[in-house]
Amino acid sequence: MTIIKFITPRSLGLVVFGVLAVLPAFANNYWLFVGNLTLVYIVLTVGLNLLIGYSGLLAFMNGILFGVGAYATAIFRVDFSLSYGLAIPLAAVFTMVIGVIVALPALRLSGLYLALATVAFAQFILWVLLHWDQVTRGPSGIQVPPVNYAPLTDTFENGHYYLTLVVAFIIVWLTVNLLRSHYGRAFVAVRESEVAAESIGIDLTRYKTLAYAVSALYAGLAGGLFAPLLGIVVPESFDLSQVIVQFAMVTVGGLGSIAGSVIGAIGLVWLQESLRAFKELQEVAFGGMILLTILFFPGGVSAMLKKWLPSWREPLRRRLLDHHEHD
C-alpha cells in the first residue's frame, strides 16, 4: 500500500515512458505501429490541453493543423526534396505561423462561438486541401517515402518509433516546465476569469496567442511525424472526427492535466484498437465508452487519480464544480 504514496504525476510519467521505451522488444509490427501512433497523439493531446484545459480556449483547429503539418512535411519532402530532418521542423514552424494567424481573429471569441468558428475554419481548410490540386494533389493525397534511419537502425519502424518517443518525451517535459513557470499560472488565470486576470496585469492577447502558437507548433510537429508513419497524406485523415478523438483524449484524461493527456492518449488509442473486435459496432462501443467514462469520471482520469492517490498534486487542473465558466 505504501507504494501508492510514491505515485505522482512525475513518477507515473517516468514509468510510462520507460515502458514505451522498451516496447519494440516485445511488440510485433502491429503493436509497434499502435505504439508509434500513441506517441504522436501524446504530442497532439498535450498541445490541445494547453488550449482547452489550461487556457480555457475552446479552439478545435488542432485536427486540421495536424493535417497542415503533415501536408507541409510531405510537400517539403517530396516537392522541395528537403530531408526529413529539415522538413519536419520547418513544417512545425509553418503550422505555428498558421495557428497564430488564425488566433488573431479568434481572440475576440470565446466559448461556443469560438468552438464553432474553429470548427468552421477546420472544415474550410479541409475543403482547400481537397481541392487545391496543384499543391496538395487533391483527394488522392501525397505519398511520402519512409525516413531513412540508416546509421542508427536499419528498420524504419524501430527508428521512427524511437524518434517519436524522444520527441514526445521532450515535448511533455518542456510543457510541464512551461506550465510550472509564470506562463502556466497566466494561462490558468485567463481560464478562470479573464477580467480578474487583466486586473492583475496579465496581457490577455499575449498569453492567449502564446497558447495558440504552442499548440499549433505541437500539432505541426505531430503531423510531421505522422506523415512518414502512414506513408500517405490524404485530406480525409484530418476531418472532424480527428479533432473529436483528440478532444475526447483531453477530456477523458482531464482538463488541465498533462499526466491526464498522456493517459488519455494512451487510453483512447488502445481503446480504438481493442474496439476493432466489435466490427460494425465500433461506433456504438466508442460512443458508449466515452459516455460511461464521462458519467463516472466527469473530471477525467486525473480527477479520479487525485481522489485515490494521496501524492497526486496537480494545482492547475480544472476543477469540476465550476459555476458557469463560459463567458
Binding site: L58, R108, L112, A117, V119, E283, V284, I294, L295, E325
Partner: protein, 291 residues
C-alpha cells in the same frame, strides 16, 4: 437562371431551418448545444421507415407516430446523459453529446444498415414537380417550407404564452433562480430535450423523401444548422428560420454563379465571416439569450 437558383436555395434553406429550430429549442432552455441533434433527426426518420416497412403501419400514421417516439428518445437521453452531468463543465457536456452522437450513429448503422445506399421514404403527395410563380418546385419542398414556418410560429407562441415555455426560458436564464422559484428544473430539461428531439423527428419525416436517409446524414445537417443559428443569432428562433433560408440561398447562388465546388463549403465560410465580424448574428445579442 437566377429565379431557379433562388427557389432551390429557399427550399434547401427551409430544410436547414427546420433542423436548426430544434437545436435552438434545446439551447434556449438548457444553454447547451446538443451535438447529437443530427442523430436524433436520423433516428426519427428511421423510426418512421421501420413503422412503414417492418410493421406495415399506414404511411401517414407512421409519420405521425415517429414524433412521439423521437420525443421519448430525447427524454431518455436527457435522463441517461444530461441529467447526471448537470454540474459538469461545459466542455464535458459537449463531449458527452458528441459521444452520444457516435453511439446513436452506430446504432442506426447496425439496426438499419445493410438495406441499401440510403433509405427512401415516399413523398406524402405525388412527387411530380409543379410550378409556383413559374418556378418548378417539388411538393415535398413546399411542405418542408410550410412546416418550418409553422414550427417557428408555434414555438414563438409557446415561449410567449404558455407556462411551460416560460419555465423553459427561466431555466435558461438561471437554473439556480428557477429552483428558488419552485420550478422543477430537471423536469423542464427533460421536456426540452424531448421537444427538441421531437422537432428533429418532424423534420426527418418531412425531409426524408428529399434528403434520403443514411446513418451519416446527421453530421452534415448539423453543420448547416449551426451555420443557420449563427447567422440568425444563437438563441433566436426567428433567427434560425431566417438564417437557414439565407444559408440555403448563399449556397445556391455561390454554387450556381461562382463554382459548383464551393457549394459545400459556403456554410463554413458564412460561419467564419459572421463570427468574426458580427458574432451576435442578425437577431441575437452576444451573450444574451433572447426571444
Amino acid at each position: 437562371m437566377l429565379p431557379y437558383l433562388l427557389t432551390s436555395g429557399l427550399t434547401s434553406g427551409a430544410l436547414y431551418a427546420l433542423v436548426a429550430i430544434g437545436l435552438v429549442v434545446v439551447y434556449r432552455s438548457t444553454g447547451h448545444i446538443n451535438f447529437a441533434h443530427g442523430e436524433f433527426f436520423m433516428i426519427g426518420g428511421f423510426f418512421a421507415y421501420s413503422m412503414i416497412t417492418m410493421l406495415g403501419f399506414p404511411y401517414l400514421l407512421s409519420l405521425v407516430l415517429a414524433v412521439p417516439l423521437s420525443f421519448c428518445l430525447g427524454a431518455v437521453c436527457d435522463r441517461a446523459v444530461f441529467r447526471p452531468l448537470m454540474k459538469a463543465p461545459g466542455t464535458t457536456i459537449v463531449l458527452a453529446t458528441v459521444g452520444l452522437s457516435y453511439l446513436l450513429k452506430g446504432v442506426g448503422r447496425y439496426v438499419w444498415g445493410g438495406k441499401g445506399e440510403y433509405i427512401s421514404i415516399k413523398s406524402i403527395v405525388d412527387p411530380a414537380p409543379f410550378l409556383v410563380w413559374g418556378m418548378p418546385v417539388l411538393p415535398q419542398q413546399l411542405i418542408v417550407f410550410g412546416a418550418a414556418m409553422l414550427c417557428m410560429l408555434g414555438f414563438f407562441a409557446f415561449f410567449r404564452w404558455t407556462i411551460a415555455g416560460k419555465m423553459m426560458q427561466a431555466t435558461a436564464e438561471s437554473a439556480f433562480a428557477s429552483y428558488l422559484a419552485g420550478i422543477r428544473v430537471e423536469r423542464v430539461y427533460t421536456l426540452t430535450w424531448g421537444v427538441g428531439a421531437a422537432v428533429a423527428g418532424v423534420a426527418a419525416v418531412l425531409m426524408a423523401p428529399l434528403t434520403l436517409l443514411t446513418p451519416d446524414i446527421g453530421s452534415g445537417l448539423l453543420i448547416k444548422a449551426f451555420a443557420a443559428t449563427i447567422l440568425g443569432g444563437l438563441g433566436s428562433m426567428s433567427g434560425a428560420l431566417v438564417g437557414g433560408l439565407l444559408v440555403g440561398l448563399c449556397e445556391s447562388l455561390i454554387g450556381g454563379y461562382i463554382d459548383s465546388s464551393l457549394q459545400e463549403v459556403a456554410a463554413f465560410i458564412i460561419i467564419m465571416i459572421v463570427l468574426v465580424f458580427r458574432p451576435s448574428g442578425l437577431f441575437g445579442a452576444y451573450g444574451v439569450r433572447r426571444a
